[in-house]
């Protein structure tokens, strides 16, 4: 893999800042499809076109019981 120094200039810095491998740069095929889907859906939100984030959301329904 080609090393990329994020700094550019007219002299050598004491330390180089070489980019570490970013998981985003090496997505599996299914991860890439999921990423592409999200980007495309967000650009076309409207009507039945919605997007739900895949977060660890959990809800036990308790909050509604207060009003009962």
């Amino acid at each position: 893999m080609e090393e990329k120094n994020v700094l550019k200039g007219n002299f050598e810095t004491k330390k180089k800042v070489i980019l570490e491998e970013n998981p985003q740069d090496n997505l599996t095929n299914s991860q890439q499809i999921a990423k592409d889907l999200k980007e495309t859906v967000l650009q076309a939100l409207g009507g039945s076109m919605v997007y739900v984030e895949r977060t660890n959301l959990s809800w036990d329904g308790n909050s509604d019981k207060k009003g009962e």
């Binding site: 994020v6 700094l7 550019k8 200039g9 007219n10 002299f11 810095t13 004491k14 330390k15 180089k16 800042v17 980019l19 970013n22």
Partner: protein, 529 residues
């Protein structure tokens, strides 16, 4: 020599990085020419997060870390300055650009990490500050900024002091070319395509050029921030210096030879196929030069062999086309058919027109000098020259009404324009900002800084300045304009008309020290340096 790190802030995270920061690239070139050690970290291009920024800050013993940009970059700049100060407690932090110039006193209050700000045009001020640093390092002269024009600095107790205005340079050709080589060009070239015309859509290597500084018009939503001779610095009612923006103008443009030589170099060095002129308004320059600048620029472009083959041979553009296409900015009242035809011949493929509205009354209030008829005709005139017009549309003007929205939709339908309009937004430095500052602060519950931070997302509705419509109504009207649906507009009007008697305006204008609605011209320097 001074060891400088420039940081280009992340801007518009929702979009890919498309434009090398022209000002930073110029200042980097100026610093290098003066013998300083320069590094650039282009955070906007890399989009790599805070950890990489921390590594960059720790990569050397920086004398100065310089950061700047427009108000839309405020959020990142604020965050970055905190990181810079944590990693580099002793490094001098220097800021500049529109975000600081539009409100230097507030920015210095909100961002205590900034040691010094360059206010207005930096082409002379920045190297002057670097020379002072050099002398300070070499012969231990104490840093004393009391007499340095164009800066805001801190006294030993941290209190900011704004000095007098720095005269604009008279000759833009005295500037070096931007230091493109210090930026990750591969990232920018990967985002070369612009959805403005077939030629820009098929561009593989596009770069920007700024041919001029200034614009004669006084559009209420526009800002210039000292680069057009519009800014003076005077004592306010509290007896302290503050910025005042005016209708004053110093119109300046590069010679056609300067521009064409630069584009030739870019083609020979980077194989570019498209140039975006990021000038405020190229047609102002055409009019100001008595209709010579555009003509001479096009002639020089063709003479230098930059004319695309599709234009020289009179054939449709396709992938086999050689040469450099370009696009820029125009104006419905200032453009001329002859100029446009010449521009097409030289390779111009698109022109952005800030038409904003097709309502007579709204246009009269904008300071653009355009009319409904001129706006309508401009589309046809531009198209007849072979150039793709890109009209910008806005809703939510202070005097916006259902009738003015209807007039805009009707024109969009007649002209075949599809547009999702922007919302009228009071950016700092614009006349609107100072007129409606109190209303904006009220809408943000007293927190002006929260408003400034919100301006980073161009798609967002922030503070409304419409006297009639709330944010809720404007969001709906934006959709109706996008759909060009006059039936929905009529239904909405019938519904809201009944509620009108209970409505009170959210935004009301007032006068401000920071905006002088007169032609007070800032000075031009006699010599550069």
């Amino acid at each position: 020599m001074v060891k400088i790190l420039f940081i280009n802030p992340v801007i518009r995270e929702e979009d890919n990085p498309k434009h090398i920061p022209y000002g930073i690239a110029l200042l980097a070139a100026i610093a290098i020419n003066d013998g300083h050690q320069v590094q650039v970290y282009d955070a906007n291009a890399w989009r790599k997060g805070d950890e990489v920024l921390e590594q960059v800050c720790a990569a050397d013993d920086w004398d100065i870390i310089a950061i700047g940009g427009l108000t839309t970059a405020f959020g990142y700049i604020k965050k970055a300055c905190k990181i810079v100060r944590r990693i580099n407690p002793q490094t001098f932090i220097l800021a500049g650009g529109g975000f600081l110039t539009s409100m230097p006193r507030e920015i210095m209050d909100w961002m205590p990490e900034i040691d010094l700000g360059v206010v207005g045009e930096a082409f002379v001020t920045f190297p002057v500050v670097l020379r002072m640093f050099d002398e300070h390092k070499l012969i231990k002269i104490p840093l004393d900024f009391q007499k340095t024009l164009g800066i805001i600095y801190r006294k030993s107790n941290g209190t900011p002091v704004l000095n007098g205005v720095r005269p604009n340079i008279p000759n833009l050709d005295a500037l070096p070319w931007p230091a493109w080589e210090l930026f990750p060009l591969d990232i920018y070239f990967a985002n070369s395509k612009l959805l403005f015309s077939e030629e820009s859509f098929t561009s593989k290597r596009r770069l920007d050029v700024n041919g001029s500084l200034g614009c004669n018009l006084i559009c209420r939503y526009c800002w210039h921030l000292g680069t057009t001779g519009d800014m003076v610095i005077e004592e306010n009612e509290d007896g302290i210096n503050d910025v005042r923006f005016t209708y004053g103008r110093n119109i300046r443009y590069h010679s056609p030879d300067y521009i064409v030589n630069m584009v030739q170099y870019l083609r020979d060095t980077y194989d570019i196929d498209f140039i975006s002129f990021i000038d405020e308004n190229m047609m102002t320059m055409d009019a100001y030069s008595k209709r010579t600048w555009i003509f001479d620029l096009c002639e020089a472009w063709i003479a230098a062999g930059l004319q695309p083959t599709c234009r020289s041979k009179g054939i449709p553009h396709d992938d086999s086309c050689k040469g450099v296409h370009w696009g820029g900015t125009s104006h419905a009242t200032l453009h001329r058919k002859e100029s446009l035809e010449h521009m097409f011949k030289a390779g111009c493929s698109q022109l952005v027109y800030g038409l904003e509205s097709f309502d007579r009354d709204i246009l009269k209030t904008l300071g653009k000098g355009s009319t409904r008829e001129k706006n309508i005709n401009s589309v046809a005139i531009c198209q007849s020259a072979g150039i793709n017009p890109i009209p910008n549309i806005i809703i939510g003007f202070p005097e916006e009404t259902f009738e003015s929205i209807r007039n805009t939709i009707t024109a969009l339908l007649e002209l075949g324009i599809h547009a999702k309009p922007h919302f009228a937004t009071a950016y700092p430095g614009s006349e609107w900002y100072y007129d409606y500052k109190d209303s904006i602060i009220e809408q943000y519950k007293g927190n002006l800084e929260a408003y400034i931070a919100d301006l980073g997302d161009a798609t967002k509705i922030t503070a409304t300045i419409s006297h009639r419509f709330s944010a809720m109504e404007l969001l709906g009207l934006q959709k109706i304009v996008e759909l060009r649906d006059l039936r929905l507009l009529e239904l909405t009007q019938i519904h809201w008309n009944e509620a009108d008697q209970f409505m009170k305006p959210l935004a009301t204008p007032k006068t401000s020290f920071n905006m002088v609605k007169k032609k007070i011209q800032a000075p031009l320097a006699k010599v550069v340096g």
